[in-house]
Amino acid sequence: MDNTNVLEVKNLAISFKTFEGKVQAVRGVDFELKKGETLAIVGESGSGKSVSTKAINRLLPKKNSIIESGQILFEDKDLLTISDKEMQKIRGNDIAMIFQDPMTSLNPTMQVGRQIAEPMVKHQGLTKEQATEKAIELMQMVGIKNPKQTHKHYPHQFSGGMRQRVMIAISLACEPKILIADEPTTALDVTIQAQILNLMNNLKKDLETSIIFITHDLGVVAQMADRVAVMYAGQIVEIGTADEIFYNPMHPYTWGLLASMPTLDIHQTDLYNIPGSPPNLLHPPKGDAFASRNEFALAVDFEQEPEMFKVTDTHFAKTWLLHPKAPSVTPPAEVVRRKQKYEQLFGEKKLRIQTGGEVVGSRG
């Protein structure tokens, strides 16, 4: 993994027009994607993770979505301003997508081999025969048995896991630079999920593709991600390397997410849950959007939106708890345990939260 950015998203804000008013689905999102890395975006449904990534591929409905501000830079082009024709050359070619539900995102009336071949005919100018041959190779690569026969099958003849492999084969057909995977394994069984994740990790190594992996399952994130961005109510509230997010989380929302994950430890019998539900983004609350569900909320959280505080060069969190003047708090037991593990693993004393961090204005 080298350090060049293949994609930069800057101050992206997206709203949807509805009968009740404007829903501010994404409210100022910044991140960059490096070459060959997997960036996981986690958050609850409605946190804006899918909307932000659909904007990258310009897949949002034109009728009711409004890009309020922002830039999406890919190879010196702003994907939000280029023409539809230019976008068509990029979509499916340089930036490909894997969707959650393999049944509804495949064409039920088209042989899978032809669906895999289609982007190669469109983007790479291969003939149908060449493309079919390559499609069979791809099916072999993603672990579909007997591709010589099965490429003529229709989606309904495959199981859920196999269909998702077909989806992956389609997305890899043009060897994209960026692969956006939107909950690719949520509809699958755990055993099949393990196979698909393994497959994606291997393909990433072989092809040096950068992956944006969207999910709400932190277990999957731990297995896949190099870096993690946590989204809440249309904003990134914490971003850092996987180790930093899992072992040294700073934002109370990340704490809640980690503490509510089930473990297989039989001694843990009670499950922590984050109370309440996410705010209505028709009228985003004043101050920190998470404040009303946050047991660690400070008075300032209800008044003023926190800035993005820097924890390390790679780790940022949007919570007033990192302000030098903030009181020190004790995170939930599960998070304390994780921080202890962080210390063991990396031998750094980052346990004390009251040390605070410097404010990074440009990210705020």
């Binding site: 755990v190 055993t191 277990g219 731990a222 991600a225 180790d243 009670d270």
Partner: protein
């Protein structure tokens, strides 16, 4: 979670249950093939397995959504296949309710929450007067953590977790003794799953319920189950108390299920070794001495008689080593 089930009184007894679809035809599917187990009063029985293992079919047969191919299912001592007639069926369904997987698809989008929950009360004629019925709906909404202002809203106005709460309120409306939750949390976000699990646990305590909790992964099931059954391709492969199953998973299929669950811990994930399972493992040529054998008290494995000793040794070894998958 070890529940004190003092004198174990079975509420459900399933013996030799078989469900074949398209029986006798070329396309015959043996969804469930000779499954037997009991569910005791006051416990939560977790039923786990991947899609196609027959766990949902078992749940559906139990609540009598269709006729079974073979075997016997007793509910409170009564053979459910003998329940006929509107009155008797109503009584049966009043006592047993179901919570479904997809919170949106299982609620009628065109009627309000009040009518969805009140509908159950109306069908069973529990409250004749609509004012009393509305009062009860408010009570139920509060019991599942929703405010009563929501009563006049439509399902589309709710989030997935809230819809699932409405589904739970509907199941509770008729004061059942037994609730089948078929993948009731799979469609929800992790943090919301935790909320619903905790709610179900609370309601169980308050209302003296027995649950059959069907799920496809073993991580959440632990928090709610007293005993767990693991199914694969129509067979029950392992039944054990919840704690025991996580410390000493004996059947290779259970092991593979446990090893497939990703844990929210990058360091564990880097060092993790996954075991794969080949279904051929439990396909025996000669079925005469094959069945669910008791390896230890309350711990059953589907195996050949000759394998019992091997499993016993494996159990002792695993208990000595302590928990492997935590």
């Amino acid at each position: 979670m070890v529940a004190e089930v003092e004198q174990k009184k079975p509420i459900v007894e399933i013996t030799g249950f078989k469900q074949y679809f398209n029986a006798g035809k070329k396309s015959e599917v043996r969804a469930v093939n000779d499954v037997s187990f009991n569910i005791y009063e006051g416990e939560t029985f977790g039923l786990v397995g991947e899609s196609g293992s027959g766990k949902s079919t078992t749940g559906r047969a139990l609540i009598k959504l269709g006729d079974i191919t073979g075997g016997q299912i007793l509910y409170k001592g009564q053979d459910i296949s003998k329940i006929r007639g509107r009155k008797k069926l109503l009584d049966f369904r009043k006592s047993m309710q179901m919570i479904f997987q997809d919170p949106y698809a299982s609620l009628n989008p065109r009627i309000t929450v009040k009518d969805i929950i009140g509908g159950a009360l109306k069908v069973h004629g529990i409250y004749k007067n609509s004012k009393e019925r509305t009062e009860r709906v408010y009570e139920l909404l509060e019991a599942v953590g929703l405010s009563k202002e929501f009563a006049n809203r439509y399902p589309k106005e709710f989030s997935g977790g809230q819809c699932q709460r409405v589904g739970i309120a509907r199941a509770l409306a008729v004061e059942p003794d037994f609730i089948i939750a078929d993948e009731a949390i799979s469609a929800l976000d992790v943090s919301i799953q935790a909320q619903v699990i905790n709610l179900l646990k609370e309601l169980k305590k308050e209302n003296n319920l027995t649950y059959l909790f069907i799920a496809h992964d073993l991580s959440m099931v632990k928090y709610i189950s007293d005993r767990i059954g693991v199914m694969n391709s129509g067979r029950m492969l392992e039944v054990a108390e919840a704690d025991e199953l996580y410390i000493a998973p004996l059947h290779p299929y259970t092991e593979s299920l446990l090893s497939a669950i990703p844990t929210p811990d990058p360091e564990n994930e880097r060092n993790r070794v996954r075991t794969e399972y080949d279904p051929k493992y439990h396909q025996y040529d000669d079925l005469t001495k094959v069945g669910l054998h008791e390896i230890a008290p309350d711990h059953y494995i589907y195996c050949h008689e000759n394998e019992i000793e091997v499993y016993r040794k494996k159990r002792e070894r695993l208990l000595r080593e302590g928990q492997k998958y935590a």
